[in-house]
Symmetry: C2
């Protein structure tokens, strides 16, 4: 972690408990000329189920293609994460590297290669060196179990802090634990902002129900955050369920604890997603954008993302400028139903504009005070229907430009 | 023009000839506390036809709504442009201001208010002061004819240089002139990057054919430029044809000179569009992005804009970094058909990657040399079909952040 700590970082890494049936290890594969652990190997007990969501990019990495294929089987015995080399856009050589990693891990664990999930993040266009990966994997397998914090550090690239979260739920009369680590949107050219998130639970969950719950959680968390509108070729979130808690396996909505599990998974994903935004490159403000009164939830989501991705909105927040005109602009460009004359906008708790006009007697003082803080809320009501959505982003600052432009590869 | 001159500015304002039937004037309406002309009044002889394209924003300014309505009649006697106040998001008071301006100009000229076209750019959310507009209009009407350069300056807000272009065509055996002025993407919070472009020709052209030709020209020019992906509530391009050249009026593709006129209009629009990019906020590089081999032209256009709008691509160019991985990322996130393993990418004339891999023996030296210049070319071939498109943008620099964030309204 060489960059200055994000001012939005939490005070400390949380105390994450062990998850029965999950044993993380880290090792130095030395994918870059650095002296830190950059390979993470998580052993999973037999019987572990898995679900996942991956990037919508049309040019996904071979790791993403491998995981998509392996997810169709719904079972997992290992996760291998490489940091420092994304192995993306590397053609057949990149595919060979993923296959070699899966084969090597399978030999160690006595399982099928398709039971091994692989994710990589870092430089693009350079095939992952198979010799380093295999040596790193062997070292990780021989290493003692590590802490979740050590694993969260090892999967990071230019993140400025390790990211983890935990929650619990009562399922079938038993307390199950859900733990997650994630790495996000720190990047140094020519690296990319890959989001890799991994969730581990001791609950027993069928692959199909786990997939349903993860997809639902994803829609309200990872799909609702944006740092700069760019989409990695490698984004991957995987959820593993070992079943060691001994509950009757969750397989449908009618099962005891199904709702609690889904709620806990959604909560965990939201915690992890917010941590990614809090480490957005150059971020100094954490911004929540809530859109209400849209024609549909989908329309609200698109409008909210249009605001969140607007460079003019993001720079205005960076400048602590109550520039609601830019919010109007971003609503207008979203291409969704909107009526200027029914639009209302607030910053924090202060209504700034409504019915196509700035509010009578508008006093900027409380808005200016809100914008001086680091937690910013923008509310937009379209006055058209019941559709609503909330998304999160960060401001756009000189820090972003410095990280991404003041550099020569 | 108070900001430092864009390093991409042309050496001088071009020598623009008068256009028969068009008389520009400027005056000080003092929409802001500045001592400069900020109201432009262009008188047009009777018989002038008009066509226009306006913003796709769902929250357009009252000026845009007024022009859309007036365009349905196809005739024009005057253009009024206000700089310093966009009059957008101002509700009924904004509409009243536009109506008052059109009525006042109509009295001066003895025409209908619907013959008067109005455009405004500047601060948002503040109704245009009718008294200042009327006094300014009276002053402009009383003033002597001004030069095109004076008009180009008067329509500007935070542009760092005035923008104009000229071309000619042979139509029906006569040389017709097409002259244009435009203001673009300089902005200061809480102002917005409104693009206002005005084209004047002495050719005789039916409103319908003028609209067809302008729409075609727009598709390959103004619709192919982006500075920061944000869309103004006020973007407007209007074309006026006085008919003073005496050619048989152009009304269809089979008329003599129709092709020449269309080509000239397209050329003029492209010149004007490029000038807007060259004054992009903080721009230090003019970037051409050419996409070929897509499944369709539309698909190519969307992919090209995805690259042009990517903050990571734009910061890489600012940093003179041959970061083709970010181009792959931007192709992938466009959501259009793309195959990683058939993708080829070049910077300048140098092929960097093809068939899913960096080219064998890749030498970055010529690419680095190309990126040190101020005119950058990125080529992407998808290897899928015949679809192609070219768009233009600028880099994303500290200058953009300074202009848009280092400010408190």
């Amino acid at each position: 972690m060489t960059s200055p700590l994000s001012p939005l970082a939490p005070a400390a890494f949380p105390n994450l408990p062990a998850v029965a049936g999950v044993v993380p290890h880290v090792a130095r594969a030395r994918y870059k000329t650095w002296d830190r652990c950059d390979l993470t190997f998580v052993a999973l007990d037999a019987g572990t189920t898995v679900a996942g969501v991956t990037t919508t990019s049309k040019c996904p990495s071979p790791e993403v293609e491998w995981c998509r294929q392996a997810l169709t089987l719904g079972q997992a015995r290992a996760l291998v994460v490489n940091a420092g080399n994304a192995n993306a856009f590397t053609g057949h050589r990149g595919r060979a590297a993923v296959e070699a990693i899966a084969a090597r891990a399978a030999v160690h664990l006595g399982c099928q290669p398709s039971d091994v999930f692989v994710a990589s993040t870092g430089v693009i266009g350079v095939p992952l060196p198979i010799d380093k990966a295999e040596a790193g994997l062997d070292a990780a397998f021989a290493a003692a179990e590590c802490s979740w914090e050590e694993a969260a550090v090892a999967i990071s690239t230019t993140d400025t802090f390790p990211k983890g979260a935990v929650t619990t739920a009562i399922v079938d009369g038993r307390t199950v634990t859900l733990t997650g680590i994630i790495k996000g949107s720190g990047m140094i050219a020519p690296d990319m902002a890959t989001m890799l998130g991994f969730i581990f639970t001791d609950a027993a969950v069928s692959p199909a129900f786990l997939q349903t719950a993860l997809a639902e959680a994803n829609r309200a968390s990872f799909s609702c955050i944006t740092v700069d509108s760019d989409t990695s070729t490698s984004d991957t979130v995987l959820a593993f369920a070992t079943g060691k808690a001994g509950n009757a396996p969750l397989s449908g909505d009618d099962d005891a604890g199904a709702d609690a599990f889904r709620a806990a998974l959604s909560d965990l994903c939201l915690q992890l997603a917010h941590l990614v935004v809090r480490d957005g490159e150059g971020a100094t403000k954490f911004i929540e954008i809530a859109v209400t009164g849209a024609e549909s939830d989908r329309s609200a989501h698109r409008i909210a993302l249009s605001i969140a991705n607007s460079p003019l909105v993001k720079t205005a927040i960076a400048g602590e400028d109550a520039n609601w005109g830019r919010v109007v602009m971003a609503v207008g460009k979203a291409g969704e139903p909107a009526e200027r004359d029914s639009l209302a906008i607030r910053f924090g708790d202060t209504l700034v504009a409504r019915e196509g006009l700035v509010v009578a007697g508008y006093d900027e003082a409380p808005v200016a005070a809100h914008l001086k803080g680091s937690e910013i809320e923008i509310g937009v009501d379209l006055g058209l229907g019941d559709g609503k959505a909330t998304v999160w982003t960060c401001d756009l600052t000189h820090g972003y430009i410095s990280i991404n432009a003041d550099y020569r590869s």
